[in-house]
Amino acid sequence: MAASLRSNSRHHIRGHAPASDLTEPWPIRLALILGTILFLGLFLVLPLVAVFAQALAKGWEAYQSALCQPDTVSSIWLTLLTTAICVPIGTLFGLAAAWCLGKFDFPGRKLLLALLDLPLSVSPVVVGLMFVLVFGRHGWLGYWLESYGIKIIFAVPGVVLVTLFVTGPYVARELIPLMEAQGTEAEEAALVLGANGWQTFWRVTLPQVKWGLLYGIILCNARAMGEFGAVSVVSGHIRGKTNTMPLQVEILYNEYDFVGAFAVASLLAGLALITLVLKTILESKTAHQMALAQVSGPETTVAINSNGAT
């Protein structure tokens, strides 16, 4: 059946057969393809090119010196610091949460799953405000913290905290479906064979999700570096102190320092491009792991063969 369909359509394309039900006439195909290319070019490629063009509008020297401004350098450092704190914590939290929610069933599991989505579903600005309400000078904990000389809002800790909050779910969200699909049989097999809990985790659970984990880390990293809304609310925009790269872009732009603004923006855009490439590679690897999880069951001889062939 499938074979005959395919040969039919090939026949239609080669010969000048009457319009088939399976393909559109060429003018429509051409129009659709051109439309897609035009749209992609206008809304995706052109802006991206514009960022780099603007950044380099006054030459390489100007670009370099824009990036070497002390405030800009400090914003880059703060972003790197925030990322360096948030990504490892987010990864550990994500692994623990996914292991717990993906491998075990317990009362309250559904509620925890829903809570895990909270940081993604709440608007970042609201997240920032939430933290101000809790840790701000007039907030619930702010006064008490201040009496110990701890400042969170309008300071670096605030920036790190909100970033932690918004990046928290990425690794877990990536791993939970994978771990659920893989089930617990492999872990049980490891236990029966005499492995302890730690060995089971390192030798069985972790290797089976490694590509998904990397994918989650990359998404988490991208969000940590790019977060604007929540950070903007809690940072206080103190130059050279609490500005991250996205905030620095906004400030420079508002001051008509276009080369400066776009130079920083070009770094973020470059990061986005690298993320995109890695994401594409890892996505196919995760899909493969997912597929393997599904073929481990019964009646899979056919699926396995096609899998082994690829």
């Binding site: 097999a189 069985v204 481990s296 069951g297 009646e299 899998n307």
Partner: protein, 361 residues
């Protein structure tokens, strides 16, 4: 090493999966846990392995007459073959088999050379030598099954537990592996317990069969015993096909359909309603009445492909019946669909129905 289960119960939520189950498997025996799905057989196997805990205070699990209730799963030295094999997807066949040896504490761990030798010996035993570097997803179902078995045997287990070992294989491979597992068992003499819902598999492979239903053991016996002398209606129905007649026990006689039989010795004294079971091959098919009481019937279908010919019949009283005759008989009797035949049971099983008249259950 023997396995003994004493008065084990298990409840999941409100569902009682096992009700006071007791069972003993002697050293070197190959025993089948046979039952329909939901009968609790897999749960029993998992409890023996230590993957599930029995209800608190319900009973004991003994290996070699020693209570293992407090032993961790990994310390019980059981080889467990999972229904879907649960091979480690990211490891080669070699690594899969070596896993159990590699995770041992340092002082108990064999040297890398010893591990290699043991794995290679197992690969050879399982006829898998040429697959050592493959990954599980590159193997066929039967090959995966053998890798799972090799992995379970690598840790030199004292007992081997198999959950539906052939459940997800196609008929041909299943047949092959069955014979192969039997030979393997005869060779290494490991106390083994396997779960199956396939009565044919149990009858062919096992030294003894434990028939389970709704969390209880219905009967324990050799394949001959459970097949020819079923203790309960369930066992009779589950192991092979039966024709069921409603009848009556009275003064040492059994009356059903047009027949009258002597009651079995243990039911001499009671009078009550009873179910009478006749296996299809015990239903003699005659072209003409032979003077003895018979039941007249008409042939609806004939299935002649196979070692035996199966006849689907409708008796004159409307009851649907099954009979099984040899190819020889089929040819000499010249039966065809619509033929009128006369049936005579050769061998019956009587199960008195519990009733107000005080019959025994």
């Amino acid at each position: 090493m023997s396995i003994e289960v004493r008065h084990i119960s298990k409840t999941f939520g409100r569902f009682r999966v096992l009700r006071d189950v007791s069972l003993r498997v002697e050293t070197g025996e190959l025993v089948a846990l046979l039952g329909p799905s939901g009968s609790g057989k897999t749960t029993l196997l998992r409890i023996i392995a230590g993957l599930e805990q029995p209800d608190p205070g319900s009973g004991a699990i003994l290996f070699h007459d020693e209570d293992v209730a407090d032993q961790r799963v990994g310390d019980r030295a059981v080889g467990f073959v999972f229904q879907h094999y649960a091979l480690f997807r990211h490891m080669t066949v070699f690594e899969n088999i070596a896993f159990g040896l590699r995770v041992r504490p340092r002082r108990l761990r064999p040297s890398p050379v010893q591990i290699r030798q043991r794995v290679e010996w197992l690969l050879h035993l399982m006829q898998l030598d040429f697959l050592a570097d493959r990954y599980p997803h590159q193997l066929s179902g039967g090959q995966r099954q053998r890798v799972a078995l090799a992995r379970a045997l690598a840790i030199e287990p004292k007992v081997l537990l198999l959950d539906e070992p052939f459940g997800s294989l196609d008929a041909k491979v299943r047949q092959e592996l069955r014979g192969w597992l039997r030979r393997l068992h005869d060779e290494i003499k490991l106390t083994s317990l396997f779960v199956t819902h396939d009565q044919e598999e149990a009858l062919e492979l096992a030294d003894r069969i434990v028939v389970m239903n709704e969390g209880k053991i219905e009967q324990i016996g050799t394949p001959d015993e459970v097949f020819h002398s079923p203790k309960t209606e369930f066992v009779a129905c589950f192991l092979g096909q039966v024709n069921r007649f409603s009848g009556r026990l009275e003064r040492g006689k059994v009356h059903f359909a047009t027949f009258e039989w002597l009651a079995p010795p243990e039911a001499q004294e009671i009078s009550c309603l009873a179910n009478i079971f006749v296996r299809p091959h015990d239903l003699q098919v005659l072209v003409e009445p032979n003077g003895q009481p018979t039941l007249a019937a008409r042939i609806d279908h004939i299935h002649s492909a196979g070692p035996k010919v199966r006849l689907e019949l409708t008796a004159d009283n409307g009851q649907k019946l099954l009979a099984e005759i040899t190819q020889d008989q089929y040819r000499t009797k010249q039966l065809s669909v619509g033929s009128r035949v006369f049936l005579n049971p050769q061998n019956i099983k009587v199960f008195p129905l519990p009733s107000q008249e005080g019959g025994k259950g």
